[in-house]
């Protein structure tokens, strides 16, 4: 927990700098309301059912997208990681698809599947597939050959080796991929809501506040709430990861 508190202290410092910049008149309050105003606005918005519904819609879309991404990317990663021929054959396609930003696919997705929640979920799945898949492939490649040989020597079957040797080893890597993807999925969901318009969602809330209005405090309120959501999601996953994979050192090694 102290780590969590230290992180919050940093955030408080950030808000303080922001407050000072605005109060000193370096930026006009009308264009960049200070945190003292924005935090009050956030507090007010939490009393609005519409805002709560936006928040829930974004969170649900995010959660569904991440689950689907895991369900696709982990088996795909295991498959590609354990069959080198397949991996070589698909490498070019994967390297071609991976750098395409999810938001660049918005027009295509709108035409193909419409602009409902399916659109943001699809794009978030697309964006968050890659880190999970790559971490899975990478983890399989990193397994100590001695472990695998030992399993083989003991007459362990292929499936058994996969489930009791390969998976426990890869799981922490895969989980790191999931953690990276969690934020990517959130970005994709909110950007799609913002750029394509939706019925509900925080991105939609920010879009409405920014295109139709003179209320920059609402724009920033939405932005800060998305930031807080990302912070909580990452913190939550980090905690789960530390508990679930006590034996692993991956979390300390991997880029987070």
């Amino acid at each position: 927990m102290p780590r969590f508190l230290r992180a919050l202290a940093g955030l408080a410092g950030f808000f303080l700098v922001w407050e000072v910049i605005v109060q000193a008149g370096l930026v006009r309050k009308e264009f960049l309301p200070p945190p003292s105003v924005v935090l009050v606005t956030i507090f007010e918005q939490f009393g609005e059912t519409q805002f709560i519904r936006d928040l829930i819609a974004t969170f649900l879309a995010w959660a569904i997208a991440l689950l689907i991404a895991v369900a696709i990317a982990v088996p795909a990663g295991l498959l590609l990681g354990s069959i080198p021929g397949l991996r070589t054959a698909t490498a070019v396609v994967v390297e071609f698809l991976r750098p395409i930003p999810a938001v660049a696919l918005i027009p295509l997705v709108l035409l193909l599947i419409g602009g409902g929640p399916e659109a943001k979920i699809t794009l978030a799945v697309y964006a968050s597939l890659w880190p999970i898949m790559f971490n899975t492939i990478y983890a399989l490649g990193e397994i100590d050959p001695v472990l695998m040989e030992t399993a083989k020597a003991c007459g362990t079957g292929k499936f058994r080796t996969l489930t009791s040797v390969a998976l426990p080893h890869t799981a922490p890597f895969v989980f790191t991929g999931v953690r990276l993807s969690a934020n990517i999925a959130l970005i994709a969901v909110v950007s799609t809501e913002f750029l394509a318009g939706a019925k509900l969602g925080i991105g939609n809330f920010i879009m409405q506040a920014s295109t139709g209005s003179t209320r920059f405090d609402l724009v920033l309120a939405g932005t800060v709430v998305v930031g807080a959501l990302g912070f909580l999601i990452n913190g939550g996953l980090e905690m789960i990861g530390r508990r679930a994979f006590r034996w692993s050192t991956v979390d300390r090694e991997a880029i987070s």
Partner: protein, 315 residues
């Protein structure tokens, strides 16, 4: 997973309440989706929604937000919504390009005096409309209402528009751009007009609702030919509810809270801003001014007749 998705009205997708809604007035489609923008222009529609005017007609209107008129129209062409709100320009451009069989369903707003203007700030070199020639003018985008109406007003006053640098910009950013000298003038509709005068001391150089663009039709609701032909009763119900809402919009006290709520304008600005002229029934002769302006400004290359694009008008 599918069950989760299906159960999630919270996601903002298809509502499970589809079967409900008092659709026994014999409407072909008792529940329609309309793509909307967070703008002052839509106050009457919000009134019709919140005041139960649509419900009284047996119609349920579900709002889908869009970031721009163009996006709103795209949602309609893509089949996500039945009716789209936009300024008139994208509708006519799409029709002339053959992109879609656009029909205009209901009017929304026209330029009223002091609701749209080209503005300047005290520090800008632009003092009168004659100074606009060759300057940097902020507009929302090329070939939008903001661009073409500014061109039209300048031409009315004999000001050369050929050397103007048009700077595309989101409306909320224009007052900051004026203050920093990034642009010399800018086109602003309400509520940005009131906001800019408050924040940046912006003053109008010329009111848009003058000369050739007096009472100019600005925005309305469009649909596709296929929808219009299949759903005459649904459309008539929509039009009747809108007509009533427009009549009741004369009472400003009914409108202001809706502007605060939906157009996300602060209460003080909402009380100060000049409302556009709300309307609901489309008049082909008046509407013809839009494609005519598009033709004059070279956006359209051939004359486009507005009358055949109009859906039958109720009452």
């Amino acid at each position: 997973m599918l069950a989760t998705l299906g159960a999630c009205g919270a996601l903002g997708g298809e509502d499970s309440s589809k079967a409900s809604g008092g659709g026994d007035g014999g409407l072909e489609k008792p529940k329609i989706k309309v793509a909307l923008l967070p703008v002052v222009d839509l106050a009457p529609l919000r009134l019709a929604q919140e005041g139960g005017y649509f419900k009284a007609e047996g119609l349920e209107v579900e709002a889908v937000d869009a970031p721009s008129g163009q996006a709103s129209m795209t949602k309609m062409i893509g089949g996500e919504v039945d009716i789209a709100f936009s300024t008139y320009m994208p509708f006519f451009v799409a029709k002339s390009k053959g992109a879609a069989d656009i029909r205009l369903v209901a009017d929304s707003v026209s330029a009223s005096p002091k609701s749209n203007a080209v503005v300047t700030v005290p520090a800008s070199p632009v003092k009168t409309i004659n100074d606009l020639a060759g300057k940097k003018i902020a507009i929302t985008d090329k070939n939008t209402a903001s661009h073409l109406l500014t061109v039209s007003v300048m031409k009315d006053h004999g000001v050369d528009t050929s050397k103007v640098q048009w700077v595309p910009m989101a409306l909320p950013n224009i007052s900051a751009a004026l203050l920093s000298g990034q642009v010399d003038a800018g086109y602003l509709p309400e509520p940005f007009l009131t906001q800019a005068s408050k924040v940046a001391g912006a003053t109008p150089v010329v009111d848009i609702a003058t000369g050739a663009t007096q009472d100019f039709p600005l925005a309305g609701f469009g649909s596709l030919g296929s929808f219009v032909d299949k759903n005459p009763k649904t459309l008539a119900a929509f039009q009747r509810a809108m007509a009533k809402a427009v009549r009741d919009s004369a009472d400003r006290s009914k409108i202001e809270p809706l502007i605060v709520k939906y157009a996300k304008v602060d209460a003080e600005t909402a009380s100060l801003l000049t409302l556009p002229t709300f309307g609901s029934t489309l008049d082909p002769r008046r509407l013809q001014r839009v494609p005519d302006l598009l033709l004059q400004t070279g956006v359209l290359t051939a004359k486009l007749d507005a009358a055949p694009m109009l859906a039958p008008q109720a009452g």
